[in-house]
Symmetry: D2
């Protein structure tokens, strides 16, 4: 069967686009067939989208469906960035996939400032991927009884939860009640994987076991939006999801004065008024200037679940003048969801990007690569944030964009 035949079959409605992979038993051919179909149907050329090194037999049903090719996003590199964490220790070059001019330059300059001032210290404070199935009970009184029962059966629930994967540990069950509605926020350790899919599967297993073993409870949804995945929220902000990580640096007064003609007080002033007061007024979860810029660019480059930028970019920049008169600056990210295995991390370019950071694949000990990665990401965020604060005080923003890429990334 030629590709032309297949395209005709699609056109005639004899086969659906998503059935072509099975029909041809080759997703690379199926990808071409779909592309050809769309080119004809829509009267457009999809040559660039078709020019890819991805082997679609590798990604079919694992990473995506109905493939027609690939998007290509330029990767720039920022660094070297000196990071001193528990696992990340040394100089790193940060791969940033972005189409927004000045962002790489911004992180790059920030990395220089941080590195020349002794580097960024990063530390992961908390670690756990959460899923919160939502149950309905007959009444609130039953909700409370149910939670008690869950507490008493924790070890059994743990067993059920962990039975599907040897990388999974159920660390905590956080119950929340509203009337006859109960959320059980299940928090897992997922090793080097970001882990959302495995915790979803484990949560469904737990939910089923609960329904089978507790009279009167009914699962409404395996995700009751208290997890919280891909929506900005206070739960993750307060209790964490993925890695809760801090990165910090001290920038000397002299350096700021000589290099930029500004004082630590200037940076603190912009940070307090813009990132605290402004974001307070806006009632934001982002008490920062542009965490999202850096995190998005790293997530795209390294095969993370990019939609999780939403909550991964929540967090706070804190700056103050320390007792020596130097600038102390830190970024705190309560909910950075990253992994070095699974998801898109195994795709060709993504794999290489992770290798650049020395974190590709499973770590030794397990989980250490993901922690190391989180330490580096936080340090890169610190670099980008610091640079933007400097740039905003110096009013380089619009100028940067007019001149294309001199100094800062706006946000």
């Amino acid at each position: 069967m030629s590709l032309d035949d297949v395209v005709r079959m699609i056109e005639e409605g004899k086969v659906k686009m998503h059935e072509v992979d099975d029909l041809l038993k080759d997703s690379n051919l199926a990808t071409r067939a779909r592309r050809m179909y769309l080119e004809r149907r829509l009267g457009v050329e999809l040559k660039a989208i078709g020019s890819t090194i991805i082997d679609f037999n590798q990604v079919y049903r694992r990473n995506t469906e109905n493939t027609i090719g690939a998007a290509q996003i330029p990767i720039g590199v920022a660094g070297p960035l000196l990071v001193r964490g528990l696992y990340a220790n040394g100089s790193y070059y940060i791969p940033l996939a972005t189409t927004e001019g000045a962002l790489v330059a911004s992180v790059n300059r920030g990395a220089k400032v941080v590195t020349e001032n002794g580097g960024a210290r990063s530390i992961v404070i908390k670690d756990g991927m959460a899923r919160a199935p939502l149950f309905k009970l007959p009444s609130a009184v039953d909700s409370v009884k149910f939670i008690d029962w869950v507490r008493l059966n924790l070890s059994r629930i743990k067993e059920v939860a962990e039975s599907g994967s040897r990388h999974l540990r159920l660390n905590e069950v956080q119950p929340f009640v509203m009337g006859n509605n109960v959320w059980l926020r299940l928090v897992f350790n997922t090793g080097d994987a970001m882990g959302m899919n495995m915790v979803t599967i484990a949560s469904e297993r737990v939910a089923k076991w609960i329904e089978d073993n507790y009279q009167g409870v009914r699962l409404i949804s395996v995700s009751g939006n208290m997890c919280v995945d891909k929506k900005p929220n206070a739960v993750n902000f307060l209790m964490g999801r993925g890695k809760t990580v801090v990165s910090e640096a001290v920038i000397s007064r002299r350096y700021l004065m000589e290099r930029f003609g500004i004082t630590p007080e200037d940076v603190v002033n912009v940070n307090v008024r813009k990132n605290l007061l402004g974001s307070a007024y806006a009632h934001s979860y982002g008490f920062n200037a542009h965490f999202a810029n850096i995190i998005t660019a790293i997530f795209i480059a390294t095969g993370q679940d990019v939609a999780q930028v939403v909550e991964s970019s929540m967090g706070t920049t804190w700056a103050e003048v320390n007792d020596d008169g130097d600038l102390y600056v830190s970024v705190t990210l309560p909910s950075l969801e990253v992994g070095t295995v699974g998801g898109g991390t195994g795709l060709p370019t993504q794999r290489e990007a992770l290798q650049m950071l020395g974190v590709q694949g499973g770590g030794d000990p397990p989980g250490s690569n993901a922690v190391k990665f989180a330490e580096i990401v936080a340090a890169a965020v610190l670099a980008g944030e610091l640079n933007l604060l400097i740039a905003q005080h110096r009013r380089e923003l619009g100028r940067a964009h007019e001149m294309l890429g001199r100094a800062g990334k706006q946000t």
Copy 2:
């Protein structure tokens, strides 16, 4: 000068990575040189990242800096999706760049449901890109006087704001006060461009003019975080940024029963408990299941500023049983920031993805392509959202992931 020479110069510190473009006067060569340098330095192979069709002379300083190659993200297609908007009118195939299995399948199934029930009606309610410079005044009393002065000088400020670009219209100046701090939220019409860079430049121009013409005011930052860019927030949620867009559909009871064995009431129940009650509890800006999944995948494919997914994915899914007993479902996105010119929209694969939707480049009339694009994005979000609600009621989630890509995308 050979690339080896250049790499050696970088190694010896004689030239910096970001200076190579100017040195070689060719960013494609510079990209190779940096890649070679990093391969040696880091002991990794960057062959996949180097395999790209991007012409780096086209993107240098416009889209990024310090390039070393590109990330490749598989694109899957969902559709046909019938959209009935003001500008988007017909069947669309939605390009989705993602590495998360089941997402494309999820939107695809949702698109089928929507299309077979008469399609999605989309409408853009508001349109305006905002930037909010933050000023410091001597006192709150001065803040009030300052705002009065701004009101009196609106036409002059409008002139200053619009002087830099013929595509720019300053529509509104929204003042906010906290003590001696004043934010002027400038809201612009930016035609078919998402427009953040041009409004930043215009805002700097306005800020400078204000400082020159009003005694005692001082600009703290051209962005005072009341804009709000790339941070989840209540300002955009309430007042809009980019396009405020709604998409809606009616799905017949019979269809739901026959096709999925569920009732409209089932879908409403999941939506109210998960998307309203759950998100209310989590104090979220996402009263939805997974807007971010669909928006991220479209943003990557079409060259949008992906970090803006943060606020673009805010919004609400509303479902109810209508008077005929059928399912009414709508998605409202207060702050969808999209463009069809500028940013990454001109890159090779991104350009093609926009062409697939018939929205590449400037529209006729100007701005119409961006509105059309917003209508389609909202319809795709509706499709993905509807499918997930069905899937969650039917408990297909974990299963979907175990079987890879049958039905639903978790969130």
Copy 3:
């Protein structure tokens, strides 16, 4: 009919408690009868509750129902507090009804500090009482058409809204859409009254007129919770409700040093870390230390609707070291809902409390008393806030409570 007879009738179920007023044609007697009934029924003595100067014939159905007596709350006074506003100009003694030790002392000390440093400057920035009826339309497309129609019929709507009271002016109609749901936030000028009841009545009138004149719209509730009354929220925080008012002062460095042994920097440090960073972390609408304490005490004393403390106490304390090295401190209250006529303002003790401030009854020009009152309230909040920041830096809190009332009020 003796009171004993009435009590017996209640006991025998022949008359209901709330019917006694009509039966006896005297609410003072009815109050006694109900009290007697409850004393017998519950076996308690309600002598203190019965000892009141209130004439229940004056309050029946105007202020309350089913009366049995009154609560007595001690009133303390703080001041003199020098206020320099548009209408409030001079020294004021602030009546504070509270049972929480140290609060009056706290405001009193703060008032002294403010007064000895030139007083508080207060200014009302915005003024408008809002009510937001919620309508249902057939579809989102209809929602948009409906809003257009409302815009075109604004003058007619204004007429309808204002027809019931000569004190009422409809200033603005702010539309909000979510799918087929539309909120019309009607913002009124209500003169010296806080005005919620009159705007509710006017909003019902408007809603009825709309239903009568626009096909296909249906009122869901005259209050759709976008008003927002008695719930903390971002709408009032951003757009105001009641009075949006700022009060500010400059406290000299020397004064702080000599009087308290602290610097302006100390106060700023506590304010930034506690009121901005801490409240940001808590995702609060209160970027302050204890606005609610002062506002509650004034509201109880002066007959305001005390439940409105919820949103009236939202707001921000901003402190910085000014160019002279002195402390600049301001409080911004976006949604202070106060009145000098109507509600509880006419009750005996409440009337006197308002007279103490020179704001009892209608102002000349109308509305000026309420504005004057708002200026004073904000100044008192400033005094209480400033004192607590000083006290917290000096660690006087628990001590204050152990020693009862020396210095500060905790929160």
Copy 4:
């Protein structure tokens, strides 16, 4: 020394108003003297304020300072309300101190509906008063070490915390980190007292002990606004403060139809659109109609810390049609801060109001009175909420106010 003499001394600046209690050694006389002084100074009569049964020698420094008299607020009663809780079991008459017409009538009618349908079931889920001192560390790495040290020294910290009062138990220490800032949210059991003052004192003691025993830590404020007291916030909403309490009832379809001509679906519709969708849009912490109204009125009547209405009134109303076709309705209050000893609970009228509910003073077992009280308050909130939902569907609001007190309380 006559009172006239004292007044003269105040006038001549020889004695300050707050020194008169000590001077006269009688706070009742001092109260009169201050009142006389103000009457003369301000040219007003404070006769009503002076007419009080409060013995100011009892309240001086315990409840307030600088007293001049008292405010009198009418108390109405709603009930009987049938409550079935763990401690509250029976019919209750709810004392409501308010000046807002229709509120008592509203709760009264709701109480009738609830009672005639089997009463309200109330249950306290969580119980703990929190205070969160804020510490500064040299760095984020130090923050993490510090938290580890705190964990290791928990039993010692517990000892220090509990040493000041035999009613105090430290249940939990919840650490929060932002860079070099650490909040320790100390959660206590405080028996029948609301307990804020005792936990403040205990927290200061803990903070001091920590500073004495851990090098490099510095207390910024005993309250770092993560407690959270008197500010609306997500911390209490998610983790509780005071009592987390639910109350629920089932109202039969037949009853609603016969009594009000409405269906359970009608009530659910108003609740979902107004209380969930509307409040979601407003980004509120009040997913309810008017919790604050009921709570404020009870708090004033019973001597609670009324400013705590701010967070005590946060919460959610959830309504659904149950499997029998009847109306299930519940209210969930995450942060209800109440006590039956301490604060204003010992004042004459307040004491009686608590006696009406059978909860005055310390309970047996200790703490049970406060829990019982919370159960009753939640049930009263349920009654008020249910009635308003019915009233809003029936459009009784403005009418109620026009007719004064027939049916519903607006909000």
